[in-house]
Symmetry: C2
């Protein structure tokens, strides 16, 4: 399904039934595999995730839904499990039919190629326009047992704050019920994949899945316990790192910029302002050029729909204070030097309260536009 | 204030006090001249509009406000009118102080250079990054009197649906009270400058002003009358044409695309969907490449926050039906041919009701990004 024989099918399985927590796109147009995976994840148990890249199986009508279900059935036969234990995912072009026979054959071959050492190859198989593979793992000790958490992500285009256009798969041998796994995933997403933007487009296929199969042998992690908190922090840290890589690998991106808004009346207000700044094509173009155009940043803050008094505002770029009492401090040249790096921060203090939020964004480059002007043809 | 001696100061006056209607940016960060013009327009009467381009006088604190007021005072002295009859406007870079002495001298020279034939030079003086001058006029007969409506606009960057980043000045000799002029302006804006987008950024300086001085000698236009309707239609038509030129002249724009959404449950829903499509960097990049990537259009419709059933959707580009029952009709090649022109339409029918809306947008080109990556430095 991908050109030049590139890897395009990945399979993740658990030796025993695993607890599952999942999060899906908030787009009203959802791909067929999202419909099926949502159904299959509802009972909190799963054994396998099957992913194809290159074709999204979105806007493909009843035939697309049949293909997603046939994929689950085929894999269930190969692995001798229940089709409802399989979660299907697709990523790639919208509106194109998946070649069903070829996909089912790929599914069978994937089930024969299962191997513990294939983690990085699977992480490569789920990518589309990604420039590099994004995967990592963490280890912690719980109840004197070594617990491993590993995850892989694909990103590149259509990365918006709500669930981003992504596939994210995390696997752990921690023993934790689906009920306790869900808040851990929710917390981990809020500071990672729900706090990044590349182009503001929320895709039809966004899916994050965590499988936890309990093979570490710890006593079950209960929500609210110290061990559960440590597990959640580890998952948050891991997904946070992958989210940063997704931004750095945004289509055409050359820079990752952390936008922090503080001093807002509430965290909600701070988030709206941070997203407005992080999403503006004008601020993103200025980030690309390393141009300390703070007027555009204040302007984007001003149309976020949040009360704002410009004379109370302070603004830093790369640690250099550019704006005080809403006017220039005259430090543009120093700020321009601070913007030469591949990563820098923008901090806007609204001076109105203690609400704060953080969004990671990429710059907008001519390459992004060139790339996306001829994607389908 | 502009490099290379380019025209940067324009003055519009009326021989007699005129009725005025105005609309200003909804950004919470407003430039100093917007604060002053809003104050001076409140009583519905004005004699002059003074505009400088190159420096926006935004985020310039108390000193910027003093400069805006000093501009009005200086012009009032030169023309022997009241400072409160002067509406000041600025456009250009945010956060930079206007050179006050130089501006006041320019204001005096402008008052000496007033001439009926200077309309097009004034329209050129208000431009910043515009590639061409945008101005036009219409004539209608009311009460057997010839009534003229003329207008000029500047656009290029920071063009968002709500009031857009624009300066628009309309002048008419129609006799009409400020009270009857306001609904005419509101109606004219809703189908013109409030229905376009270039980059989604709402500026700090957006201002639209209509002056009506009654010299045509018609009997006063009353809201609700047939003559008032004809006047409103003429103003709408004129501003509609200028709004189209602003989109065609968007920074880096090579195409103007009319996005029509119909079959929505309400006009409000239709507008949200049309704006989501017209504002997506991915759809705009595809428009640039003439790529009939209808999946991105449905995707952008899907995250507009409006109920949507993809199987009810139909989509046309350039009159070619691309999507029926939410899936491809197979007409991609024909649609690609229809997208070769400089202007084409996208029609999305949601199949749910009779709500409709229309937004005019530009494509997103690599040139837009290059241009905006080094604007201030």
């Amino acid at each position: 399904m991908k050109p030049r024989g590139a890897l395009d099918t990945a399979l993740i399985t658990s030796a025993v039934p695993a607890s599952v927590a999942a999060a899906f796109t908030r787009n009203r147009v959802v791909a067929a595999p999202v419909v099926v995976a949502r159904e299959h994840a509802r009972d909190g148990r799963a054994r396998a995730v099957i992913i194809n890249s290159g074709i999204a199986n979105a806007c493909t009508g009843g035939a697309g839904l049949d293909t997603a279900r046939a994929t689950c059935a085929e894999l269930a036969r190969s692995l001798d499990i229940d089709p409802a234990e399989v979660l299907p995912c697709s990523t790639g072009k919208i509106g194109v039919a998946l070649p069903r026979a070829r996909l089912l054959s790929a599914v069978r071959r994937a089930s024969l190629a299962l191997a513990p050492g294939a983690f990085w190859r699977a992480a490569r198989a789920i990518t589309t326009t990604d420039a590099f593979v994004k995967a990592d793992k963490r280890e912690i000790v719980i109840d004197r047992r070594r617990v491993t958490v590993a995850a892989m992500a694909k990103g590149a285009g259509m990365i918006a704050p709500d669930m981003a256009t992504l596939l994210v798969f995390a696997m752990t041998d921690a023993r934790v019920s689906a009920r306790a796994l869900r808040p851990a995933l929710r917390a981990a997403l809020s500071g990672s994949f729900n706090a990044i933007t590349v182009d503001g487009d929320t895709s039809t296929n966004d899916t994050t899945i965590v499988l936890a199969n309990g093979r570490a042998g710890n006593s079950p992690l209960r929500a609210g316990s110290i061990a559960h908190k440590r597990f959640t922090d580890t998952l948050s840290d891991l997904l946070g790192d992958l989210a940063r890589l997704v931004v750095l690998d945004g289509e055409g991106a050359t820079r990752a910029v952390e936008v922090v808004v503080r001093g807002a009346r509430s965290a909600r207000d701070a988030k709206r302002v941070a997203r407005s700044i992080a999403g503006s094509t004008l601020t993103k173009a200025a980030f690309h050029g390393g141009d300390p155009n703070w007027g555009r940043i204040l302007c984007a803050a001003g149309y976020a729909g949040v009360p704002l008094e410009v004379r109370l505002c302070r603004l830093w770029i790369g640690g250099v204070e550019l704006v005080r009492h809403g006017i220039s401090s005259g430090a543009e040249a120093r700020a321009a030097r601070a913007m030469r790096g591949r990563e820098f921060g923008v901090v806007l203090d609204l001076g109105q309260g203690s609400g704060a939020a953080r969004v990671l964004t990429s710059d907008l480059s001519p390459r992004y536009v060139r790339f996306n002007s001829a994607y389908s043809t």
